[in-house]
């Protein structure tokens, strides 16, 4: 049993002369945009997975530490952990702490914003090339 493609001229002609519609002119660009979206989605998924894993491990370690301290080392939490007390003298100190915390949040937000702008410019520039 031999299959000789060149011998079947009629089939070759019928298939090769069959006219089919062509792709939309911007098909490749649209497909690339879809690919970039997928990459973004994958990064987001990985980030969420990482955060969940870290949180789960952290909670596990804290629970384990509490369990070990309480059952094996007979640690009394009521005695060793002080309940924070608030007085008028310490309020000015809290204001300063809050100021620092807000400052850090603002700086982190600005960093995030500028990074996003930079990535967007970088991707748009490279797609246009």
């Amino acid at each position: 049993m031999k299959i000789n493609m060149q011998r079947d001229k009629a089939i070759l002609k019928a298939l090769n002369e069959d006219v089919f519609p062509s792709l939309s002119p911007n098909f490749n660009e649209r497909a690339m945009q879809l690919i970039f979206k997928e990459v973004k989605r994958k990064k987001k998924r990985n980030f969420i997975f990482m955060i969940c894993s870290i949180s789960a491990v952290s909670v596990g370690l804290i629970v384990l530490a509490f369990y070990l301290l309480k059952h094996f080392l007979s640690f009394n939490f009521a005695v060793h952990i002080q309940i924070p007390s608030f007085s008028l003298d310490s309020i000015s100190q809290y204001y300063f702490d809050i100021y620092i915390a807000v400052l850090i949040l603002v700086l982190i937000s600005l960093d995030h914003l500028f990074r996003n702008i930079w990535y967007k410019k970088k991707y748009e520039g490279s797609v246009g090339q």
């Binding site: 049993m1 299959i3 493609m5 011998r7 079947d8 001229k9 009629a10 089939i11 070759l12 002609k13 019928a14 298939l15 090769n16 002369e17 069959d18 089919f20 519609p21 062509s22 792709l23 939309s24 098909f27 490749n28 649209r30 497909a31 690339m32 879809l34 690919i35 970039f36 997928e38 990459v39 490279s126 797609v127 090339q129």
Partner: protein, 183 residues
């Protein structure tokens, strides 16, 4: 661009140079589309499926080991995508008694298909091809239109090379039967 070069580009894409994927899109999108559009017959569906094929290929890019060319590898994804799409939609099924194939003489088949000047035959062939099922159409396209090797077709369609040979052999006879018994 040979297999080795394609494999190197794919490794770079996996390392984060995503823009390089557009090389494959520019090079192969028409080849994939021309295959799918002949199976699903709707321009819009075929374009969407072609996009699907490239997205699936991108997601699986880390599983490409360069044993075959990228085109053969992506043909396999296109084949599976197109066949699944046809299974989801209502297809007109043409009943054909497979035992009739055994009664067709190979010599007659050879003689008929050797002639490419006959316009009536050309028309009948195109009508007969429409009566083939999607797997058969795909086999015909990969072999005759895309010029894929039997080994590659076997890999694309998850068959053995011998099985591909047998299917092609029977397909030629089926086409002959459909043409000669059109009425």
């Amino acid at each position: 661009m040979d297999n080795q070069e394609e494999f190197q580009i794919i490794q770079r894409i996996c390392e984060g140079e995503i823009n390089l994927y557009s090389i494959f899109l520019h090079r192969y999108s028409n080849a994939i589309y021309s295959l799918i559009v002949r199976i699903v017959a709707s321009k819009e569906d075929a374009e969407e499926l072609t996009q699907d094929v490239f997205l699936k290929a991108f997601k699986k890019l880390d599983t490409f080991h360069g044993k075959s060319g990228f085109l053969t590898w992506i043909y396999r994804i296109a084949y599976n995508t197109a066949i699944s799409a046809t299974r989801k939609t209502r297809q007109e099924i043409y009943y054909f008694d497979e035992s009739m194939i055994d009664k067709v003489s190979e010599q007659h088949v050879d003689q008929l298909f050797e002639n490419d000047e006959n316009e009536a035959l050309h028309h009948k062939l195109q009508l007969s091809m429409d009566k083939l099922n999607p797997e058969e159409k795909m086999l015909l396209l990969l072999h005759y239109s895309k010029g894929e090797k039997l080994n590659d077709i076997a890999s694309i369609m998850s068959l053995s090379s011998d099985n591909v040979k047998i299917k092609l052999y029977r397909l030629r006879k089926k086409l002959y039967f459909l043409i000669t018994n059109e009425d």
